[in-house]
Amino acid sequence: MAERLKATRKMKSIMKWYYIEAKYARYIGKKVAWITSGGPVEPLIAMNIIPVYPENHGAMIGASKMGGRMSEFAEGLGYSSDVCSYTKNDITSSITKESPIKGGLPEPDMLICSNNICGTVLKWYEIQARRFNVPLFIYDTPFVHTEFTDEARGYVNEQTKEYIKFLEKHTGKKFNYKKMQKVGKLSLEAMRLWKNVLETAEHKPSPMTAFDAFFHLALIVTLRGKKVVVKYYRELLKELEERNRNNIGAVDNEKYRLLWDNLPIWFRMRWLSEKFASHQAALVADTYTQAWCGVIDYIDENDFLGSMGEAYTRIHLNVGVDQMADAIKRFIKQYDVDGLVMHSNRSCKPYSFGQYDIQNLLQDEDIPVLMIEADMTDERKFSESQAEARIDAFMEVIKQRRK
Protein backbone atom coordinates (compact mmCIF):
# COMPACT_ATOMS: atom_id res chain seq x y z
CA MET A 1 0.00 0.00 0.00
CA ALA A 2 1.02 3.59 -0.55
CA GLU A 3 2.77 5.32 2.30
CA ARG A 4 0.79 7.11 4.88
CA LEU A 5 -0.21 10.65 3.93
CA LYS A 6 2.26 13.15 5.33
CA ALA A 7 -0.53 15.42 6.51
CA THR A 8 -1.62 12.73 8.98
CA ARG A 9 0.95 13.76 11.54
CA LYS A 10 0.00 17.38 11.38
CA MET A 11 -3.61 16.45 11.88
CA LYS A 12 -2.84 14.44 14.97
CA SER A 13 -0.98 17.37 16.42
CA ILE A 14 -3.81 19.83 15.66
CA MET A 15 -6.32 17.52 17.33
CA LYS A 16 -4.06 17.05 20.32
CA TRP A 17 -3.71 20.77 20.92
CA TYR A 18 -7.40 21.29 20.35
CA TYR A 19 -8.22 18.85 23.13
CA ILE A 20 -5.56 20.32 25.41
CA GLU A 21 -7.00 23.81 24.93
CA ALA A 22 -10.48 22.51 25.65
CA LYS A 23 -9.27 20.80 28.77
CA TYR A 24 -7.74 23.98 30.17
CA ALA A 25 -10.47 26.26 28.83
CA ARG A 26 -11.32 27.50 32.29
CA TYR A 27 -7.80 28.69 32.91
CA ILE A 28 -7.76 30.75 29.74
CA GLY A 29 -11.20 32.16 30.33
CA LYS A 30 -12.98 30.26 27.62
CA LYS A 31 -16.21 28.35 27.75
CA VAL A 32 -16.79 24.84 26.43
CA ALA A 33 -19.91 23.83 24.52
CA TRP A 34 -20.72 20.23 23.68
CA ILE A 35 -22.34 20.07 20.29
CA THR A 36 -23.80 17.39 18.02
CA SER A 37 -21.92 16.53 14.83
CA GLY A 38 -24.47 18.18 12.59
CA GLY A 39 -24.94 21.21 14.84
CA PRO A 40 -24.32 24.84 13.80
CA VAL A 41 -20.86 25.35 15.20
CA GLU A 42 -19.87 28.61 13.49
CA PRO A 43 -21.59 30.95 15.99
CA LEU A 44 -19.63 29.23 18.77
CA ILE A 45 -16.35 29.87 16.98
CA ALA A 46 -17.38 33.49 16.45
CA MET A 47 -18.00 33.78 20.20
CA ASN A 48 -14.66 32.17 21.09
CA ILE A 49 -16.41 29.22 22.70
CA ILE A 50 -14.61 25.90 22.33
CA PRO A 51 -16.83 23.28 20.67
CA VAL A 52 -16.43 19.71 21.87
CA TYR A 53 -18.01 16.76 20.05
CA PRO A 54 -19.08 13.72 22.04
CA GLU A 55 -19.55 11.94 18.71
CA ASN A 56 -15.95 12.54 17.72
CA HIS A 57 -15.01 11.22 21.15
CA GLY A 58 -17.29 8.25 20.46
CA ALA A 59 -15.39 7.54 17.27
CA MET A 60 -12.12 7.57 19.20
CA ILE A 61 -13.59 5.19 21.74
CA GLY A 62 -14.62 2.92 18.88
CA ALA A 63 -11.22 3.06 17.21
CA SER A 64 -9.62 2.22 20.57
CA LYS A 65 -11.88 -0.84 20.77
CA MET A 66 -13.46 0.31 24.03
CA GLY A 67 -16.98 0.63 22.61
CA GLY A 68 -18.38 -2.79 23.48
CA ARG A 69 -17.31 -2.56 27.08
CA MET A 70 -18.58 0.98 27.50
CA SER A 71 -21.92 0.21 25.89
CA GLU A 72 -22.26 -2.71 28.24
CA PHE A 73 -21.77 -0.43 31.22
CA ALA A 74 -24.54 1.88 30.03
CA GLU A 75 -26.82 -1.10 29.46
CA GLY A 76 -26.16 -2.01 33.08
CA LEU A 77 -27.56 1.40 34.03
CA GLY A 78 -30.75 0.51 32.23
CA TYR A 79 -30.22 1.91 28.72
CA SER A 80 -31.56 -0.43 26.05
CA SER A 81 -29.11 -2.33 23.89
CA ASP A 82 -30.82 -0.65 20.93
CA VAL A 83 -29.70 2.84 21.94
CA CYS A 84 -27.00 4.37 19.73
CA SER A 85 -23.55 3.38 20.99
CA TYR A 86 -22.17 6.93 20.73
CA THR A 87 -24.81 7.88 23.26
CA LYS A 88 -24.03 4.96 25.52
CA ASN A 89 -20.28 5.54 25.29
CA ASP A 90 -20.70 9.19 26.21
CA ILE A 91 -22.97 8.48 29.15
CA THR A 92 -20.54 5.85 30.40
CA SER A 93 -17.51 8.07 29.94
CA SER A 94 -19.05 10.98 31.80
CA ILE A 95 -19.54 8.68 34.80
CA THR A 96 -16.44 6.48 34.72
CA LYS A 97 -14.11 8.96 32.95
CA GLU A 98 -12.98 6.05 30.80
CA SER A 99 -11.66 7.45 27.54
CA PRO A 100 -8.82 7.31 25.04
CA ILE A 101 -8.20 10.92 26.16
CA LYS A 102 -6.85 11.12 29.69
CA GLY A 103 -9.65 12.05 32.05
CA GLY A 104 -12.32 12.01 29.35
CA LEU A 105 -13.93 15.01 27.68
CA PRO A 106 -13.68 18.43 29.32
CA GLU A 107 -16.95 19.16 31.09
CA PRO A 108 -19.38 21.41 29.24
CA ASP A 109 -20.61 24.89 30.17
CA MET A 110 -23.50 24.50 27.79
CA LEU A 111 -24.93 22.00 25.32
CA ILE A 112 -25.95 22.64 21.72
CA CYS A 113 -28.06 19.97 20.10
CA SER A 114 -29.48 19.83 16.60
CA ASN A 115 -31.80 17.03 15.65
CA ASN A 116 -30.86 17.25 11.97
CA ILE A 117 -28.97 13.97 12.41
CA CYS A 118 -31.42 11.99 14.55
CA GLY A 119 -33.92 12.09 17.38
CA THR A 120 -31.65 10.22 19.74
CA VAL A 121 -29.51 13.28 20.38
CA LEU A 122 -32.44 15.12 21.98
CA LYS A 123 -32.74 12.64 24.83
CA TRP A 124 -29.00 12.16 25.02
CA TYR A 125 -28.38 15.92 25.48
CA GLU A 126 -31.26 16.28 27.93
CA ILE A 127 -29.70 13.55 30.06
CA GLN A 128 -26.33 15.29 29.98
CA ALA A 129 -27.88 18.70 30.68
CA ARG A 130 -29.29 17.23 33.87
CA ARG A 131 -26.08 15.48 34.79
CA PHE A 132 -23.86 18.54 34.35
CA ASN A 133 -26.58 20.99 35.28
CA VAL A 134 -25.88 23.25 32.30
CA PRO A 135 -28.15 25.05 29.82
CA LEU A 136 -29.20 23.22 26.65
CA PHE A 137 -30.07 24.80 23.33
CA ILE A 138 -32.02 22.74 20.83
CA TYR A 139 -31.85 23.70 17.18
CA ASP A 140 -34.87 21.94 15.76
CA THR A 141 -34.73 21.18 12.04
CA PRO A 142 -37.88 19.96 10.30
CA PHE A 143 -37.40 16.82 8.19
CA VAL A 144 -37.14 17.55 4.46
CA HIS A 145 -39.36 14.86 2.95
CA THR A 146 -39.33 16.39 -0.51
CA GLU A 147 -38.77 20.12 -0.40
CA PHE A 148 -37.68 22.87 1.91
CA THR A 149 -40.66 25.18 2.37
CA ASP A 150 -40.82 28.87 3.21
CA GLU A 151 -42.46 27.97 6.50
CA ALA A 152 -39.49 25.76 7.32
CA ARG A 153 -37.13 28.58 6.42
CA GLY A 154 -38.92 31.00 8.71
CA TYR A 155 -38.93 28.43 11.49
CA VAL A 156 -35.20 27.69 11.42
CA ASN A 157 -34.14 31.30 10.88
CA GLU A 158 -36.10 32.25 13.97
CA GLN A 159 -34.07 29.70 15.89
CA THR A 160 -30.81 31.11 14.60
CA LYS A 161 -31.81 34.35 16.33
CA GLU A 162 -32.71 32.52 19.53
CA TYR A 163 -29.44 30.68 19.37
CA ILE A 164 -27.53 33.96 19.29
CA LYS A 165 -29.54 35.22 22.27
CA PHE A 166 -28.81 32.01 24.13
CA LEU A 167 -25.07 32.42 23.51
CA GLU A 168 -25.14 36.07 24.58
CA LYS A 169 -26.98 35.19 27.75
CA HIS A 170 -24.66 32.39 28.80
CA THR A 171 -21.40 34.13 27.95
CA GLY A 172 -22.47 37.56 29.13
CA LYS A 173 -21.04 39.03 25.92
CA LYS A 174 -22.56 40.66 22.87
CA PHE A 175 -22.53 38.56 19.74
CA ASN A 176 -19.71 39.55 17.41
CA TYR A 177 -21.37 39.86 13.99
CA LYS A 178 -18.21 41.08 12.35
CA LYS A 179 -16.26 38.05 13.41
CA MET A 180 -19.18 35.89 12.38
CA GLN A 181 -18.77 37.18 8.80
CA LYS A 182 -15.18 35.98 8.78
CA VAL A 183 -15.96 32.66 10.44
CA GLY A 184 -18.75 32.02 7.95
CA LYS A 185 -16.42 32.61 5.02
CA LEU A 186 -13.75 30.38 6.53
CA SER A 187 -16.26 27.65 7.18
CA LEU A 188 -17.48 27.75 3.62
CA GLU A 189 -13.95 27.76 2.31
CA ALA A 190 -13.13 24.73 4.46
CA MET A 191 -16.16 22.89 3.07
CA ARG A 192 -15.10 23.70 -0.49
CA LEU A 193 -11.60 22.46 0.21
CA TRP A 194 -12.96 19.31 1.82
CA LYS A 195 -15.01 18.75 -1.30
CA ASN A 196 -11.90 19.15 -3.44
CA VAL A 197 -10.03 16.74 -1.20
CA LEU A 198 -12.72 14.09 -1.61
CA GLU A 199 -12.88 14.68 -5.34
CA THR A 200 -9.23 13.85 -5.83
CA ALA A 201 -10.51 10.26 -5.53
CA GLU A 202 -12.12 10.58 -8.96
CA HIS A 203 -8.64 9.95 -10.29
CA LYS A 204 -7.66 6.38 -11.20
CA PRO A 205 -5.95 5.10 -9.19
CA SER A 206 -7.44 6.95 -6.28
CA PRO A 207 -4.87 8.74 -4.08
CA MET A 208 -6.96 8.13 -0.97
CA THR A 209 -9.65 5.77 0.27
CA ALA A 210 -12.71 6.29 2.42
CA PHE A 211 -10.62 5.05 5.33
CA ASP A 212 -8.39 8.08 4.88
CA ALA A 213 -11.43 10.30 4.57
CA PHE A 214 -12.84 8.97 7.84
CA PHE A 215 -9.66 10.04 9.54
CA HIS A 216 -9.10 13.42 7.90
CA LEU A 217 -12.74 14.28 8.46
CA ALA A 218 -12.14 15.18 12.11
CA LEU A 219 -11.21 18.80 11.42
CA ILE A 220 -14.09 19.74 9.17
CA VAL A 221 -16.42 18.32 11.80
CA THR A 222 -14.91 19.88 14.86
CA LEU A 223 -13.24 23.15 13.91
CA ARG A 224 -14.73 24.43 10.67
CA GLY A 225 -14.73 28.21 10.73
CA LYS A 226 -11.16 28.32 12.00
CA LYS A 227 -8.19 29.26 9.86
CA VAL A 228 -6.19 26.20 10.82
CA VAL A 229 -8.73 23.98 9.09
CA VAL A 230 -8.44 25.82 5.81
CA LYS A 231 -4.67 25.70 6.02
CA TYR A 232 -4.66 22.02 6.80
CA TYR A 233 -6.94 20.98 3.98
CA ARG A 234 -4.97 23.10 1.52
CA GLU A 235 -1.91 21.11 2.42
CA LEU A 236 -3.70 17.79 2.27
CA LEU A 237 -5.14 18.71 -1.11
CA LYS A 238 -1.70 19.58 -2.41
CA GLU A 239 -0.35 16.24 -1.28
CA LEU A 240 -3.19 14.33 -2.90
CA GLU A 241 -2.89 16.25 -6.16
CA GLU A 242 0.79 15.47 -6.15
CA ARG A 243 -0.06 11.79 -5.81
CA ASN A 244 -2.43 12.06 -8.74
CA ARG A 245 0.21 13.68 -10.89
CA ASN A 246 2.49 10.74 -10.14
CA ASN A 247 -0.31 8.17 -10.39
CA ILE A 248 0.24 6.91 -6.87
CA GLY A 249 -2.78 4.97 -5.68
CA ALA A 250 -3.72 4.38 -2.06
CA VAL A 251 -4.34 0.72 -2.89
CA ASP A 252 -1.71 -1.23 -4.79
CA ASN A 253 -2.79 -2.00 -8.35
CA GLU A 254 -6.27 -0.64 -7.84
CA LYS A 255 -8.64 -2.58 -10.06
CA TYR A 256 -12.05 -2.17 -8.49
CA ARG A 257 -13.67 0.94 -7.07
CA LEU A 258 -16.33 0.87 -4.37
CA LEU A 259 -18.65 3.27 -2.62
CA TRP A 260 -19.32 3.04 1.12
CA ASP A 261 -22.59 4.01 2.82
CA ASN A 262 -23.06 4.86 6.52
CA LEU A 263 -20.63 5.53 9.34
CA PRO A 264 -17.34 3.65 9.46
CA ILE A 265 -16.89 0.56 11.59
CA TRP A 266 -14.33 2.32 13.76
CA PHE A 267 -12.99 -0.78 15.49
CA ARG A 268 -12.31 -2.66 12.25
CA MET A 269 -10.88 0.05 10.01
CA ARG A 270 -7.57 -1.63 9.42
CA TRP A 271 -9.02 -5.09 8.93
CA LEU A 272 -11.56 -3.80 6.42
CA SER A 273 -9.10 -1.68 4.53
CA GLU A 274 -6.68 -4.60 4.22
CA LYS A 275 -9.48 -6.96 3.29
CA PHE A 276 -10.62 -4.78 0.40
CA ALA A 277 -7.06 -3.98 -0.64
CA SER A 278 -6.32 -7.71 -0.86
CA HIS A 279 -8.98 -7.81 -3.58
CA GLN A 280 -7.38 -4.78 -5.27
CA ALA A 281 -10.47 -2.82 -4.34
CA ALA A 282 -10.40 0.78 -3.17
CA LEU A 283 -13.29 2.37 -1.35
CA VAL A 284 -13.02 5.60 -3.28
CA ALA A 285 -15.94 7.47 -1.79
CA ASP A 286 -18.54 7.34 0.96
CA THR A 287 -21.78 9.08 1.78
CA TYR A 288 -20.71 9.87 5.33
CA THR A 289 -17.75 12.19 4.84
CA GLN A 290 -19.50 13.78 1.85
CA ALA A 291 -22.12 15.04 4.30
CA TRP A 292 -19.76 17.81 5.41
CA CYS A 293 -19.68 19.40 1.99
CA GLY A 294 -23.09 18.39 0.68
CA VAL A 295 -24.90 21.66 1.45
CA ILE A 296 -22.40 24.20 0.12
CA ASP A 297 -24.86 25.36 -2.50
CA TYR A 298 -27.36 26.48 0.11
CA ILE A 299 -24.97 28.75 1.94
CA ASP A 300 -24.78 32.43 1.07
CA GLU A 301 -21.19 33.51 1.47
CA ASN A 302 -22.21 37.03 2.44
CA ASP A 303 -24.96 36.00 4.79
CA PHE A 304 -23.90 32.89 6.61
CA LEU A 305 -26.21 33.38 9.57
CA GLY A 306 -29.21 34.01 7.36
CA SER A 307 -28.62 30.94 5.19
CA MET A 308 -27.22 28.40 7.63
CA GLY A 309 -30.69 27.37 8.81
CA GLU A 310 -31.52 25.96 5.40
CA ALA A 311 -28.09 24.39 4.97
CA TYR A 312 -28.22 22.65 8.34
CA THR A 313 -31.73 21.42 7.66
CA ARG A 314 -30.89 19.88 4.30
CA ILE A 315 -28.06 17.60 5.38
CA HIS A 316 -27.93 13.98 4.22
CA LEU A 317 -29.59 12.42 7.27
CA ASN A 318 -32.46 14.91 7.32
CA VAL A 319 -33.83 14.26 3.85
CA GLY A 320 -36.06 11.56 2.38
CA VAL A 321 -34.72 8.31 0.92
CA ASP A 322 -35.32 9.51 -2.63
CA GLN A 323 -32.84 12.30 -2.13
CA MET A 324 -30.43 9.95 -0.38
CA ALA A 325 -30.65 7.54 -3.31
CA ASP A 326 -30.09 10.41 -5.76
CA ALA A 327 -26.92 11.35 -3.92
CA ILE A 328 -25.70 7.75 -4.14
CA LYS A 329 -26.52 7.63 -7.86
CA ARG A 330 -24.50 10.79 -8.35
CA PHE A 331 -21.50 9.32 -6.52
CA ILE A 332 -21.70 6.08 -8.52
CA LYS A 333 -21.19 8.07 -11.71
CA GLN A 334 -18.84 10.70 -10.36
CA TYR A 335 -16.42 8.17 -8.87
CA ASP A 336 -17.07 5.45 -11.46
CA VAL A 337 -17.61 2.68 -8.93
CA ASP A 338 -18.15 -1.04 -9.47
CA GLY A 339 -20.14 -1.75 -6.34
CA LEU A 340 -21.80 -0.32 -3.26
CA VAL A 341 -21.01 -1.46 0.29
CA MET A 342 -23.71 -0.62 2.80
CA HIS A 343 -22.95 -0.78 6.48
CA SER A 344 -26.19 -1.60 8.21
CA ASN A 345 -25.41 0.10 11.48
CA ARG A 346 -27.27 -1.15 14.53
CA SER A 347 -26.65 2.15 16.25
CA CYS A 348 -27.67 4.65 13.65
CA LYS A 349 -31.29 4.18 12.69
CA PRO A 350 -31.71 7.27 10.52
CA TYR A 351 -28.79 6.14 8.41
CA SER A 352 -29.67 2.45 8.23
CA PHE A 353 -33.43 2.40 8.14
CA GLY A 354 -33.94 3.23 4.47
CA GLN A 355 -31.10 1.14 3.06
CA TYR A 356 -33.31 -1.54 1.53
CA ASP A 357 -35.48 1.12 -0.06
CA ILE A 358 -32.40 2.81 -1.41
CA GLN A 359 -31.29 -0.53 -2.87
CA ASN A 360 -34.59 -0.77 -4.69
CA LEU A 361 -34.24 2.75 -5.99
CA LEU A 362 -30.81 1.86 -7.35
CA GLN A 363 -32.01 -1.04 -9.47
CA ASP A 364 -31.46 0.81 -12.76
CA GLU A 365 -27.84 1.43 -11.90
CA ASP A 366 -27.17 -2.30 -12.14
CA ILE A 367 -24.40 -2.42 -9.60
CA PRO A 368 -23.95 -5.11 -6.94
CA VAL A 369 -24.72 -4.09 -3.38
CA LEU A 370 -23.26 -5.63 -0.25
CA MET A 371 -24.78 -5.29 3.20
CA ILE A 372 -22.51 -5.63 6.20
CA GLU A 373 -24.19 -5.80 9.58
CA ALA A 374 -22.24 -4.08 12.29
CA ASP A 375 -22.11 -1.09 14.58
CA MET A 376 -19.79 1.89 14.45
CA THR A 377 -18.28 1.26 17.89
CA ASP A 378 -19.83 -1.81 19.49
CA GLU A 379 -17.71 -4.83 18.60
CA ARG A 380 -20.31 -7.13 20.14
CA LYS A 381 -22.51 -6.49 17.12
CA PHE A 382 -20.02 -7.62 14.52
CA SER A 383 -19.04 -11.08 13.33
CA GLU A 384 -15.78 -11.11 11.46
CA SER A 385 -16.25 -14.47 9.74
CA GLN A 386 -19.71 -13.53 8.51
CA ALA A 387 -18.48 -10.20 7.20
CA GLU A 388 -15.51 -11.88 5.58
CA ALA A 389 -17.65 -14.45 3.75
CA ARG A 390 -19.88 -11.69 2.43
CA ILE A 391 -17.04 -9.44 1.33
CA ASP A 392 -15.21 -12.29 -0.43
CA ALA A 393 -18.36 -13.40 -2.23
CA PHE A 394 -19.19 -9.82 -3.19
CA MET A 395 -15.73 -9.29 -4.63
CA GLU A 396 -15.97 -12.56 -6.56
CA VAL A 397 -19.18 -11.34 -8.14
CA ILE A 398 -17.61 -8.00 -9.04
CA LYS A 399 -14.62 -9.75 -10.58
CA GLN A 400 -16.86 -12.08 -12.55
CA ARG A 401 -18.88 -9.20 -13.92
CA ARG A 402 -15.73 -7.50 -15.10
CA LYS A 403 -14.69 -10.54 -17.13
Partner: protein, 239 residues
Protein backbone atom coordinates in the same frame (compact mmCIF):
# COMPACT_ATOMS: atom_id res chain seq x y z
CA UNK B 1 -7.99 -34.86 -14.61
CA UNK B 2 -9.27 -35.66 -11.16
CA UNK B 3 -10.32 -32.64 -9.14
CA UNK B 4 -11.43 -32.26 -5.55
CA UNK B 5 -13.86 -29.87 -3.92
CA UNK B 6 -13.89 -29.46 -0.16
CA UNK B 7 -16.55 -27.56 1.75
CA UNK B 8 -15.91 -26.86 5.43
CA UNK B 9 -19.28 -25.60 6.63
CA UNK B 10 -20.40 -24.57 10.08
CA UNK B 11 -21.72 -28.05 10.92
CA UNK B 12 -20.46 -30.55 8.35
CA UNK B 13 -17.43 -30.94 6.14
CA UNK B 14 -18.03 -32.41 2.72
CA UNK B 15 -15.82 -33.39 -0.17
CA UNK B 16 -16.41 -34.59 -3.68
CA UNK B 17 -14.00 -36.05 -6.23
CA UNK B 18 -14.68 -35.43 -9.89
CA UNK B 19 -13.07 -37.12 -12.84
CA UNK B 20 -13.88 -34.82 -15.71
CA UNK B 21 -17.66 -34.65 -15.32
CA UNK B 22 -18.27 -37.80 -13.30
CA UNK B 23 -18.48 -38.03 -9.57
CA UNK B 24 -15.87 -40.52 -8.43
CA UNK B 25 -16.52 -40.41 -4.73
CA UNK B 26 -17.97 -38.22 -2.00
CA UNK B 27 -17.68 -38.00 1.75
CA UNK B 28 -19.17 -36.13 4.69
CA UNK B 29 -18.11 -35.78 8.33
CA UNK B 30 -19.07 -33.46 11.21
CA UNK B 31 -16.72 -30.48 11.59
CA UNK B 32 -16.32 -30.45 15.34
CA UNK B 33 -14.36 -27.56 16.79
CA UNK B 34 -11.30 -27.63 14.57
CA UNK B 35 -11.92 -27.02 10.92
CA UNK B 36 -8.32 -27.65 9.88
CA UNK B 37 -8.34 -31.07 11.53
CA UNK B 38 -11.71 -31.84 10.01
CA UNK B 39 -10.32 -30.95 6.59
CA UNK B 40 -7.32 -33.23 6.98
CA UNK B 41 -9.45 -36.10 8.24
CA UNK B 42 -11.99 -35.66 5.48
CA UNK B 43 -9.24 -35.66 2.89
CA UNK B 44 -7.55 -38.82 4.21
CA UNK B 45 -10.79 -40.74 4.50
CA UNK B 46 -11.89 -39.72 1.04
CA UNK B 47 -8.60 -40.79 -0.56
CA UNK B 48 -8.93 -44.13 1.14
CA UNK B 49 -12.52 -44.55 0.09
CA UNK B 50 -11.66 -43.75 -3.52
CA UNK B 51 -8.45 -45.75 -3.47
CA UNK B 52 -6.30 -42.96 -4.91
CA UNK B 53 -3.31 -40.92 -3.78
CA UNK B 54 -2.95 -37.19 -3.32
CA UNK B 55 -0.65 -37.00 -6.36
CA UNK B 56 -3.50 -38.24 -8.56
CA UNK B 57 -5.47 -35.09 -7.93
CA UNK B 58 -4.96 -32.23 -10.36
CA UNK B 59 -6.73 -29.41 -8.61
CA UNK B 60 -8.22 -28.76 -5.15
CA UNK B 61 -10.72 -26.01 -4.36
CA UNK B 62 -11.92 -25.25 -0.84
CA UNK B 63 -15.03 -23.37 0.21
CA UNK B 64 -17.24 -22.73 3.23
CA UNK B 65 -16.49 -20.99 6.50
CA UNK B 66 -13.30 -22.96 6.96
CA UNK B 67 -12.09 -22.46 3.39
CA UNK B 68 -8.95 -20.62 4.41
CA UNK B 69 -7.89 -23.31 6.86
CA UNK B 70 -7.42 -25.91 4.09
CA UNK B 71 -3.76 -25.36 3.36
CA UNK B 72 -3.52 -28.09 0.72
CA UNK B 73 -6.11 -26.39 -1.51
CA UNK B 74 -5.03 -24.57 -4.66
CA UNK B 75 -7.69 -21.92 -4.23
CA UNK B 76 -10.30 -20.86 -1.68
CA UNK B 77 -13.62 -19.69 -3.10
CA UNK B 78 -16.76 -18.63 -1.25
CA UNK B 79 -19.89 -20.77 -1.20
CA UNK B 80 -21.75 -18.29 -3.35
CA UNK B 81 -19.64 -18.98 -6.41
CA UNK B 82 -19.55 -22.73 -5.64
CA UNK B 83 -23.32 -22.98 -5.37
CA UNK B 84 -23.60 -21.16 -8.66
CA UNK B 85 -21.13 -23.45 -10.39
CA UNK B 86 -22.59 -26.59 -8.81
CA UNK B 87 -26.15 -25.87 -9.81
CA UNK B 88 -25.12 -24.76 -13.28
CA UNK B 89 -23.26 -28.04 -13.67
CA UNK B 90 -26.25 -30.13 -12.65
CA UNK B 91 -29.14 -28.05 -13.98
CA UNK B 92 -27.92 -25.45 -16.45
CA UNK B 93 -31.40 -23.98 -16.95
CA UNK B 94 -31.70 -22.69 -13.35
CA UNK B 95 -31.52 -18.93 -12.79
CA UNK B 96 -32.35 -18.52 -9.08
CA UNK B 97 -30.87 -20.60 -6.27
CA UNK B 98 -32.07 -20.77 -2.70
CA UNK B 99 -29.70 -22.28 -0.18
CA UNK B 100 -30.46 -22.63 3.50
CA UNK B 101 -27.32 -23.51 5.38
CA UNK B 102 -26.61 -24.09 9.04
CA UNK B 103 -25.28 -20.59 9.55
CA UNK B 104 -26.38 -18.62 6.50
CA UNK B 105 -29.20 -18.53 4.04
CA UNK B 106 -28.56 -17.19 0.63
CA UNK B 107 -30.35 -16.45 -2.59
CA UNK B 108 -28.29 -16.32 -5.75
CA UNK B 109 -29.28 -15.17 -9.21
CA UNK B 110 -27.28 -16.57 -12.13
CA UNK B 111 -26.88 -15.05 -15.56
CA UNK B 112 -27.41 -17.19 -18.65
CA UNK B 113 -23.83 -18.42 -18.56
CA UNK B 114 -24.04 -19.66 -15.01
CA UNK B 115 -22.12 -16.74 -13.52
CA UNK B 116 -23.35 -15.22 -10.30
CA UNK B 117 -25.12 -11.99 -11.21
CA UNK B 118 -26.15 -11.03 -7.69
CA UNK B 119 -26.82 -12.52 -4.28
CA UNK B 120 -28.19 -11.74 -0.84
CA UNK B 121 -27.50 -13.39 2.47
CA UNK B 122 -29.52 -13.36 5.66
CA UNK B 123 -28.65 -10.82 8.27
CA UNK B 124 -26.72 -11.80 11.33
CA UNK B 125 -29.49 -13.55 13.19
CA UNK B 126 -30.17 -17.30 13.07
CA UNK B 127 -33.83 -16.98 12.07
CA UNK B 128 -34.20 -18.10 8.48
CA UNK B 129 -31.29 -20.52 8.66
CA UNK B 130 -31.01 -24.27 9.05
CA UNK B 131 -30.22 -23.69 12.69
CA UNK B 132 -33.72 -22.31 13.18
CA UNK B 133 -35.23 -25.53 11.82
CA UNK B 134 -32.98 -27.61 14.07
CA UNK B 135 -34.00 -25.69 17.17
CA UNK B 136 -37.67 -25.87 16.26
CA UNK B 137 -37.59 -29.58 15.44
CA UNK B 138 -36.08 -30.17 18.85
CA UNK B 139 -38.75 -28.03 20.49
CA UNK B 140 -41.37 -30.17 18.73
CA UNK B 141 -39.53 -33.38 19.64
CA UNK B 142 -39.39 -34.44 16.02
CA UNK B 143 -36.55 -35.93 14.01
CA UNK B 144 -35.35 -33.41 11.48
CA UNK B 145 -36.03 -35.70 8.50
CA UNK B 146 -39.66 -36.15 9.57
CA UNK B 147 -40.16 -32.50 10.34
CA UNK B 148 -41.16 -31.47 6.82
CA UNK B 149 -43.48 -34.41 6.36
CA UNK B 150 -45.23 -33.55 9.59
CA UNK B 151 -45.82 -30.00 8.34
CA UNK B 152 -47.54 -31.32 5.23
CA UNK B 153 -50.19 -33.04 7.36
CA UNK B 154 -51.58 -29.75 8.62
CA UNK B 155 -54.86 -28.29 7.43
CA UNK B 156 -54.78 -25.20 9.59
CA UNK B 157 -51.25 -23.89 10.16
CA UNK B 158 -50.61 -22.01 13.41
CA UNK B 159 -49.63 -18.37 13.26
CA UNK B 160 -46.03 -17.73 14.26
CA UNK B 161 -45.19 -14.10 13.99
CA UNK B 162 -41.78 -13.77 15.61
CA UNK B 163 -38.84 -13.37 13.30
CA UNK B 164 -36.38 -14.15 16.08
CA UNK B 165 -35.35 -17.73 16.85
CA UNK B 166 -35.50 -17.30 20.59
CA UNK B 167 -38.87 -15.53 20.53
CA UNK B 168 -40.29 -18.03 18.05
CA UNK B 169 -39.29 -20.86 20.34
CA UNK B 170 -41.17 -19.38 23.28
CA UNK B 171 -44.11 -18.62 21.00
CA UNK B 172 -44.17 -22.29 20.08
CA UNK B 173 -44.02 -23.37 23.68
CA UNK B 174 -47.07 -21.26 24.41
CA UNK B 175 -48.87 -22.74 21.39
CA UNK B 176 -48.09 -26.20 22.73
CA UNK B 177 -49.44 -25.14 26.11
CA UNK B 178 -52.61 -23.91 24.42
CA UNK B 179 -53.06 -27.39 23.00
CA UNK B 180 -52.64 -26.62 19.28
CA UNK B 181 -51.70 -29.80 17.48
CA UNK B 182 -48.18 -30.67 16.37
CA UNK B 183 -48.88 -30.70 12.66
CA UNK B 184 -50.33 -27.20 12.72
CA UNK B 185 -47.51 -25.76 14.80
CA UNK B 186 -44.92 -27.48 12.63
CA UNK B 187 -46.54 -26.16 9.51
CA UNK B 188 -46.59 -22.67 11.05
CA UNK B 189 -42.86 -22.94 11.70
CA UNK B 190 -42.22 -23.86 8.08
CA UNK B 191 -44.35 -21.01 6.82
CA UNK B 192 -42.54 -18.54 9.03
CA UNK B 193 -39.11 -19.47 7.74
CA UNK B 194 -40.42 -19.69 4.16
CA UNK B 195 -41.79 -16.15 4.42
CA UNK B 196 -38.42 -14.93 5.57
CA UNK B 197 -36.61 -16.62 2.73
CA UNK B 198 -39.25 -15.46 0.23
CA UNK B 199 -38.64 -11.85 1.19
CA UNK B 200 -34.96 -12.32 0.41
CA UNK B 201 -35.88 -13.84 -2.95
CA UNK B 202 -38.15 -10.91 -3.73
CA UNK B 203 -35.57 -8.40 -2.64
CA UNK B 204 -33.13 -9.81 -5.16
CA UNK B 205 -35.73 -10.18 -7.89
CA UNK B 206 -36.53 -13.81 -8.64
CA UNK B 207 -35.84 -15.13 -12.14
CA UNK B 208 -37.39 -18.58 -12.73
CA UNK B 209 -36.64 -21.48 -12.92
CA UNK B 210 -35.78 -21.74 -9.24
CA UNK B 211 -33.80 -24.45 -7.48
CA UNK B 212 -33.01 -25.19 -3.89
CA UNK B 213 -29.68 -26.63 -2.83
CA UNK B 214 -28.20 -27.84 0.45
CA UNK B 215 -29.53 -30.22 3.06
CA UNK B 216 -32.69 -28.26 3.74
CA UNK B 217 -33.81 -28.97 0.15
CA UNK B 218 -34.63 -32.45 1.47
CA UNK B 219 -37.29 -30.91 3.68
CA UNK B 220 -40.46 -31.35 1.60
CA UNK B 221 -42.49 -29.21 3.98
CA UNK B 222 -40.30 -26.20 3.41
CA UNK B 223 -40.07 -26.66 -0.34
CA UNK B 224 -43.85 -26.86 -0.45
CA UNK B 225 -44.27 -23.72 1.68
CA UNK B 226 -41.82 -21.80 -0.50
CA UNK B 227 -43.52 -22.93 -3.69
CA UNK B 228 -46.82 -21.62 -2.37
CA UNK B 229 -45.48 -18.27 -1.28
CA UNK B 230 -43.35 -17.65 -4.36
CA UNK B 231 -45.97 -19.15 -6.68
CA UNK B 232 -43.38 -21.04 -8.62
CA UNK B 233 -42.10 -24.57 -8.88
CA UNK B 234 -38.87 -25.28 -7.03
CA UNK B 235 -36.51 -27.93 -8.30
CA UNK B 236 -34.14 -29.70 -5.94
CA UNK B 237 -30.96 -31.63 -6.42
CA UNK B 238 -30.00 -34.87 -4.76
CA UNK B 239 -26.78 -33.25 -3.52
Amino acid sequence: MISLGIDIGSLTAKAVLLEENNILEKHLIPVGYNSKKAGDKLFDELLQKAGIRQEDIGKIISTGYGRNSIDFADRAVTEIICHGKGIYFQMPHIRTIIDIGGQDSKVIVLDKNGNVANFVMNDKCAAGTGRFLDVMARAMETEIHEFGLLALQSKNPSKISSVCTVFAESEIISLVAKGENREDITSGIHLSIARRIASMVKRLGMIPPVAMSGGVALNVGLVDALENILETKIETTPF
